[in-house]
Subunit: 244 residues, 6 copies
Amino acid sequence: MTLRADGRGAAQLRDITITRGWSAQAEGSALIEFGNTRVLCTASFTEGVPRWLKGEGTGWVTAEYAMLPRATNTRNSRESVKGKLSGRTHEISRLIGRSLRAVVDTKELGENTIVLDCDVLQADGGTRTAAITGAYVALAEAVEWARSQGILKPNAKVLSDSVAAISVGIIDGTPMLDLPYEEDSRAETDMNVVVTGSGDFVEVQGTAEGVPFKREELDSLLDLALIGTTELAQIQRDTLRAGK
Amino acid sequence: MTLRADGRGAAQLRDITITRGWSAQAEGSALIEFGNTRVLCTASFTEGVPRWLKGEGTGWVTAEYAMLPRATNTRNSRESVKGKLSGRTHEISRLIGRSLRAVVDTKELGENTIVLDCDVLQADGGTRTAAITGAYVALAEAVEWARSQGILKPNAKVLSDSVAAISVGIIDGTPMLDLPYEEDSRAETDMNVVVTGSGDFVEVQGTAEGVPFKREELDSLLDLALIGTTELAQIQRDTLRAGK
Amino acid sequence: MTLRADGRGAAQLRDITITRGWSAQAEGSALIEFGNTRVLCTASFTEGVPRWLKGEGTGWVTAEYAMLPRATNTRNSRESVKGKLSGRTHEISRLIGRSLRAVVDTKELGENTIVLDCDVLQADGGTRTAAITGAYVALAEAVEWARSQGILKPNAKVLSDSVAAISVGIIDGTPMLDLPYEEDSRAETDMNVVVTGSGDFVEVQGTAEGVPFKREELDSLLDLALIGTTELAQIQRDTLRAGK
Amino acid sequence: MTLRADGRGAAQLRDITITRGWSAQAEGSALIEFGNTRVLCTASFTEGVPRWLKGEGTGWVTAEYAMLPRATNTRNSRESVKGKLSGRTHEISRLIGRSLRAVVDTKELGENTIVLDCDVLQADGGTRTAAITGAYVALAEAVEWARSQGILKPNAKVLSDSVAAISVGIIDGTPMLDLPYEEDSRAETDMNVVVTGSGDFVEVQGTAEGVPFKREELDSLLDLALIGTTELAQIQRDTLRAGK
Amino acid sequence: MTLRADGRGAAQLRDITITRGWSAQAEGSALIEFGNTRVLCTASFTEGVPRWLKGEGTGWVTAEYAMLPRATNTRNSRESVKGKLSGRTHEISRLIGRSLRAVVDTKELGENTIVLDCDVLQADGGTRTAAITGAYVALAEAVEWARSQGILKPNAKVLSDSVAAISVGIIDGTPMLDLPYEEDSRAETDMNVVVTGSGDFVEVQGTAEGVPFKREELDSLLDLALIGTTELAQIQRDTLRAGK
Amino acid sequence: MTLRADGRGAAQLRDITITRGWSAQAEGSALIEFGNTRVLCTASFTEGVPRWLKGEGTGWVTAEYAMLPRATNTRNSRESVKGKLSGRTHEISRLIGRSLRAVVDTKELGENTIVLDCDVLQADGGTRTAAITGAYVALAEAVEWARSQGILKPNAKVLSDSVAAISVGIIDGTPMLDLPYEEDSRAETDMNVVVTGSGDFVEVQGTAEGVPFKREELDSLLDLALIGTTELAQIQRDTLRAGK
């Protein structure tokens, strides 16, 4: 009996593809796909830090998330035309930044800045989790690049671990992994979980969309999320090992 | 042995005060204090709904959060002067709105709108959790008012439950409840938990500030949070029973 | 025969309350009430001056006025959400700043800045005059604080006088003092007068709302205003003498 | 003995020129000069009123004031480029609008709107008073135009009086009329007075720039202002009588 | 002797690739590449027109151009974060819209709207000409889609011709076709030419970057441009004939 | 047989008037009229350059274009009130700046900045071409002024040539010079041409408004434009020779 429209089992990820080095311009980049969701992640490495960090001897990592106007099923107005960012954009940009900083040793980075741009080219649910997972690969590429340029020392241990993220939710009473848009929009509870390669939590954000959720439901969602992030961590490792 | 600067035990809330009917103008209002944190919550009840909801027969509940420029230890620029809201303001406003909608039956509300304004007059950590807890009281007052005015039917069951929120965090390895600013700023992990009067979860937002956290830590933080929200729910009940 | 809805005589102020030290965070603060009008005034003292004043050896005093969205009878949109200040907000902020600077000796202040924030928590007419009157108390507290910290010399004569403000207007042909919203909205002529403790004028702003006014009317309004500001100056003195 | 740089007596206006019909496009227009101050005033008459006035049977008159970037001695950034209006621009626009509405019977205007645009082409003090004085002429032209087009009835008494404005100030202890920039910038007290053709007050705005001012000073400034506005009213009458 | 860094002849285009149907969400889409320049063009077809066109019986076609922050060699700030569009973005968006409208019969389109979004994923010169050329393909797809859906009649002749664009410039005295960034930045004269499939001009925009240009130079640039647009028109035809 | 509403021949300019030194404040200024189109051009000369040019030893010339709200037949909202510049304003400002820089030797200018402000006081077609033509005169005046002040050396050759601009278009199949609004709005093709005093091209911007245009039409429009700019160059020379 198939539970899901796309034939997946409850604990199964969508097809995950990570294309390294998609951009010829950026110091690091990855085009990541979670099924039909496609996010272009670039990492811009620049020497120097924002003014408020100068002289501290530590670096800075930040992120910006955005969606192309026609990434979704109906067109959204551009935030640049409206002249302001939505709360959603702000919220996700901050989440991505925090998630990556959790695995960065800014002392080892020295007074350098890495900006991660995560632009959703096509959206079908899970854009923020794809963005975090892809941004880590772009970040790792940029660190590698800086090492190859002699900007970072060969043994600088900038990244303490890898980081990946996945969405989980309860649909018709059943906890499910990696929700596409159709499932996400009718989930009773929706959770985004950010986990390191070692399996520790960086962020847990669970929201009751309709009915409040019970402690047991929370527990089974976390179990499911860990299955997904373990798999994603492996794909990240394989991708980075394979080279561009 | 005292663990905390203010002499509290790890599982103890700060002094909580809720002053109902603080505003002579709003349909509902509460000045809530979590220790030195003071938030003025008002509920504005208006007939009619935003254009996109017209004719659906359901109501709308939304929230806006803001901080006075000198609520904090050093002055922040006004967002109205800067001409845009920060990501933080957006994020918290959305959280408060979602939290309250989780206990509102918008069908029962009919085509009416309630806007919750949560203005932080003084900030000492936990402003978002105080805002949610106080906004619920203002919301309940506004619903009562609408019933007394005959705008809502006497038996309209608009509120399905109460809702309250608290922060928890790990400080020097120890999980603690209801963090003031000083603790919050040095917590390793920081979590905001929104819980209904029945003890179910509405939102769980946990963030590793430095080191990623383990499943067991997450569990003990959730335990602690439930102690706090159970107590807050009781205070809300007492406050509402007491009348203005 | 009672002329006014609240039973006051034409030359009588509403109940005036000034609560010093309302804020635990600011260097100076006062919660001022003119009847139902409540304004929270905080004074933020910082060392240093804006760039354009550097090296001049003089200080800077400025003010910002704002109203909570539900301070009034119906809710107003937040200026931070709209992304711009209204003309009214600009106008009143500038008036408060000018009024306070009229009694400040910026040479004696040295290269320090004091920002007065006047946030209207509840509005019932006369918010700008309450703001000026309360801001003076917060300002005096902040100067006292700086003296106690040794930032200002013990004998620095920063304040040359006190300053207070009141509204007057002609209602149904009769000049009246300190108009609540209901009177203000039907006044034929409306005047705000800012006066020093010594009884000299700092600002006189009179506006014909409907019919232009005669020289004699102007004169009698000024007479009335001076009665009010004399009383306010006494309340300010008493409040400051009493200590926090 | 000459008191003033330009050889005028204390109670003497600068050369005043009003050129009617300067614009070929607007329903009413006047280029007004107070010495080197030049303001282009246009009146745009449109049928209909803003949404909030519809169906009330009354019209609307409003004004916008602006300054060309190089109207002054050094160039100012454009407000359109900065993306926001300064407080000063807001304040003056509102003053002009109020001043004109004081002599307009909006019932007689019917559901029509007149927008006065006052653009300062060259600035040398007194731009707001020149703007009010010139805007009245443009307004009178636009009313005349609407009558000639049959939009207003031949006997519609839209304008109940004329209105003009002048600045006065105390310089080196002497009250003076119609201050150019050089005088304005060193005046101890500065007042703008708006007066009808019949000699009644519409607005009185006096500001102590340095030392607070006494009641007698206020009185002598008002005397002086009335000399100026009486003369301006005569020039307005002559200009309008002369036709385009 | 090779004239150009990439080995091309002066009258030779870079490798041109057009991938139809790149987006699963939009009614029409094309990823177009001019060498390293990559632009994602989507066409959003919606029934109805902007308010100012309602009831005219004609449709509307418009375009928006934007660049990802790291499309270029160094990162640019996002326009959505800065809160305003640059003049360059405005200018190019308007150019694309005008170019496409030149081949659209809005009567045949009926009261429908097509928005073309051209997002530069990677930039290496000629982004606006690639955008126009790709947007035409997306537009043609969207028209085809609307016909297949029965929104447009089978014989509606919405597109009167095709349209493509190319850049030309004089580099070291030699006119050259299709400039990559490196050439564009040192061109003496730079021209963008928009041409229909029939070889008529839609837009000619020539700019002297340093030295003004002569009539003969203008003529030889136009000759060169026509070689390029003829070839692009053929590629567009082939792409559309091939189907998705 | 008269072809044009105003009785002009197809190759005839409207009445052109340039009033030098219109502004008493700016270093250079000209009020230019092309028939009913009136543009006030001022040149602001300041020592120093924008930060990004410091230490390069070269100057900077830039321009800003704007239109008064009632320059046109119906009133437009102010861009300062809307809080953003339209694409059209941006586009024209950039065109004026580029056109003037084409005849400026920034090395000879030294580290000085000249800002040209072109404010349309009355609009009847051709405002951008009038602005360029008038701005050149203001620019020449400002250079002269700087030389007279000893800021520029007596022999500094800042201006390599003059520059002027004109519009041409095809109306009812006939190419015509210098289009007023009525003609411009029904032109099939519309072109703005910027030409130096020596007759070389600085900018050529041709746009098909309806039907794409042929190479022969482009050629005849360019011929016509050169007739116009030759005449304008002569008027500029005469005006500058005549002195203020």
